[in-house]
């Protein structure tokens, strides 16, 4: 099953590169995504009996991230068909090929239980996603791609050094040097502490760059701002979730080694700092796509914070991976539609989006309410669970700061979003060709309904999956 999930999208990517028709090629995306999601369900329903010592193992956190990214990718793929229909003037060969390759590489990240292999997969995902940012071929998109590649590559290089440090910590302890997840977990208490500390810092910086934690987030507003909306959705819900999974594995090893105190201090500082930076830059932000990028920085901060609190907040943190991923899909896809209709992503030009695009405009507003943690949507439940976890763990100061920063973000983001959706649209944009169509609006509506569903009721299988993942992370060998 692992090979099917990883190789199938890659084969389809190869086929997409070979198909000459610009009109038919995008349809391969939904075909691939549907088949992939079907296989994911099969893999989740029937876990393969294995000794759990191979390189490719699907552990509970991996299952969760695989599910989120596959679901998000499905909706994005239908949207992409609609989006690319409006962009027939440009060849979408590279775009489709890279998107499908990303799905395969992402599956590899969730399955890989060898930290070296995981690094290779994450670095490859950087490379296949770079051309997606460059789709528009403007000077700005070159600049964004350049920053993404350079900052991302350097960050990920540090993660490689951290991975080597981790292997050395087992070698120095007199054990046989290893990089498989199982072996490291098993021998975690014996690992050499100085090397383990060094490894954690480097891996936090490295995979944190990929997630977009402040202060390594500098590529993020540029990349998200210049990339098409659908790419933003895949980045904010998919790439970041995969990088978080990598960080989760490292965190697990350190926790098993009895170093929770050390890691949680760093994670808490990083998480709160990310939220604060995001809040500051969101206030007075005129570009609504950049605003969404800062919102992503904020939510990565929340994930790091939840991990830093640990124990009682783990359930909420893992749930937040799901709710944040899906809500980011709603926001970026609807923002992409608004950008298309107005030909601008600055609120100096964008006004009255709810009148000009009743569906996308409304979804953008509702998506904003959801992501900032308003009830009754999914992120409210997950953020509330993290807050509860902080209280249970006795971290009252952290909980207070968390609430304060959420409020700052709500105000900052609200001002921009309300200006964009309210009022009357300027007369010159009333007759631009773009209107909400079935393919560009329906996927967002369904995503939004999923986010609402998660806020009202968490389906039993998902709850089991989350509880399994929490149990898996809390096991101390």
């Amino acid at each position: 099953m692992a090979f099917a999930l990883i190789l199938f999208p890659l084969v389809m990517a190869g086929l997409a590169a070979a198909i000459p028709s610009n009109r038919l090629r995008p349809w391969m995306l939904p075909v691939t995504a549907t088949a992939h999601l079907a296989m994911v369900f099969l893999a989740l329903l029937r876990p393969e009996p294995g000794d759990g010592a191979g390189w490719l193992v699907l552990d509970p956190p991996g299952r969760l991230v695989l599910l989120v990214v596959s679901v998000l990718f499905l909706f994005c793929s239908f949207y992409a068909v609609g989006y690319l229909h409006h962009r027939q003037e440009r060849s979408n060969r590279v775009f489709c090929t890279c998107l499908m390759s990303f799905l395969g590489i992402m599956s590899l990240v969730t399955w890989s239980h060898h930290l070296g292999l995981m690094w290779v997969a994450i670095e490859t995902s950087t490379l296949v996603t770079a051309p997606l940012i460059y789709f528009n071929r403007t000077q700005q998109s070159i600049e964004a791609t350049w920053k993404y590649l350079l900052v991302g590559s350097v960050g990920i290089a540090l993660a490689l050094l951290g991975t080597l440090f981790l292997a050395y910590s087992s070698l120095h302890a007199g054990l046989e040097a290893t990089l498989t997840y199982e072996n490291l977990l098993q021998h975690a208490p014996q690992l050499s502490k100085p090397w383990l500390h060094g490894a954690f810092v480097l891996l936090l910086v490295g995979y944190g760059t990929k997630m977009g934690l402040a202060p390594m987030h500098t590529w993020k507003p540029d990349a998200y701002g210049e990339a098409p909306g659908v790419v933003g959705a895949i980045f904010a819900g998919g790439v970041t979730s995969c990088a978080f999974l990598a960080l989760l594995r490292v965190y697990h090893i350190c926790a098993a080694a009895g170093e929770s105190a050390y890691t949680s201090r760093l994670l808490l500082v990083m998480g709160l700092f990310s939220m604060a930076v995001a809040g500051l830059f969101m206030i007075g932000q005129r570009d609504f796509k950049r605003m969404l990028a800062y919102s992503s920085v904020e939510h990565m901060g929340i994930l790091a914070l939840g991990l830093g609190i640990g124990g009682p907040a783990l359930f909420g943190t893992l749930l937040h991976v799901v709710t944040n991923g899906l809500t980011k899909g709603v926001l970026f896809l609807s923002a992409g539609n608004i950008h298309r209709a107005y030909g601008s992503k600055s609120i100096d030009q964008v006004r009255g989006a709810m009148r000009r695009l009743p569906v996308s405009g409304t979804l953008f507003l509702v998506g904003f309410l959801a992501i900032t943690g308003s009830p009754p949507f999914g992120p409210f439940i997950s953020e509330f669970a993290i807050l509860n976890g902080a209280m249970d763990a006795g971290r009252y100061v952290v909980a207070g700061l968390f609430l304060l920063l959420l409020l700052v973000v709500f105000i900052g983001m609200g001002a921009t979003v309300l200006q964009a959706v309210q009022g009357r649209p300027p007369s010159e944009v009333r007759h631009t060709p773009y209107h909400d169509g079935l393919l560009t609006a329906a996927p967002i509506v369904i995503l939004m309904l999923l986010v609402l569903l998660l806020g009202l009721y968490i389906p039993a299988p998902l709850k089991t999956l989350l509880n399994d993942a929490v149990c898996f992370l809390e096991v101390r060998p």
Binding site: L127, W146, L150, A157, L164, Y168, S192, P194, F281
Partner: protein, 213 residues
């Protein structure tokens, strides 16, 4: 064995300093190619037995770091028609001094590091740290896009040296994956530098300032 190894590592350190001090990008690319080839020899000295994975690693490292990647960069340089890095953030002489200080700090720091007994006599750990730092200095103080790519390559070289401490651990597949990723990464970055050059008529990254708050 350790003596020959350390001699090669001294050469790597010297190349770092030369790379920091030169303004000619052609010379910079060439000298980093030499560094890549030297790194390719290291596995032979570190690993006592001559096994097939070691030979494959040696051949591929020399081919990629010593020949293919420099060739790609030389091509990008020719297309861009630039010769020199002008007015870096930190001048060339101060860069050398900074690099030397970083090397000294790395030597001192590595003395404090708890190393496994079989690695105590070698310069692998300090050279690795010093090379990573030299790469960082190149990356952050130079403005030409291509010079920054060379800085990234030097940084990766530093990590490769650290990998020598663990040559038995990394299975061949992963090792190849790392090398391939590096290669494709540099390839993609060089394509982008080319586009920067065409879109901005310059490779100066100071022109990339339209996106900011």
């Amino acid at each position: 064995m350790t003596q020959q190894l350390n001699a090669l590592l001294m050469l790597v350190l010297a190349i770092n300093l030369f790379a920091l001090g030169t303004s000619r990008i052609l010379a910079l690319i060439r000298v980093v190619a030499v560094q890549g080839a030297v790194l390719g020899i290291l596995p032979l000295l570190v690993h006592q037995q001559l096994t097939l994975p070691v030979i494959i690693t040696v051949v591929l490292t020399i081919a990629l770091k010593g020949l293919v990647i420099p060739a790609i960069m030389l091509r990008a340089l020719r297309d861009a028609q630039i010769k020199r890095e002008v007015e870096p953030l930190i001048g060339f002489l101060p860069s050398i001094i900074l690099g030397a200080l970083a090397t000294a700090a790395a030597l001192l720091f590595a003395g404090q590091l708890p190393l496994a007994p079989q690695h105590s006599g070698s310069l692998l750990a300090p050279t690795s740290i010093a090379t990573v730092l030299a790469g960082f200095i190149l990356l952050t103080t130079r403005y030409k896009a291509l010079t920054q790519v060379v800085g990234y390559l030097v940084l990766e070289n530093g990590i490769f040296i650290f990998g020598m401490l663990l040559i038995e651990v990394m299975p061949l597949v992963v090792e190849m994956g790392v090398l391939l990723d590096l290669f494709v990464g540099i390839f993609v970055i060089c394509i982008i530098t080319n586009h920067i050059n065409r879109a901005f008529s310059s490779m100066d990254t100071r022109r990339l300032v339209t996106l900011k708050e």
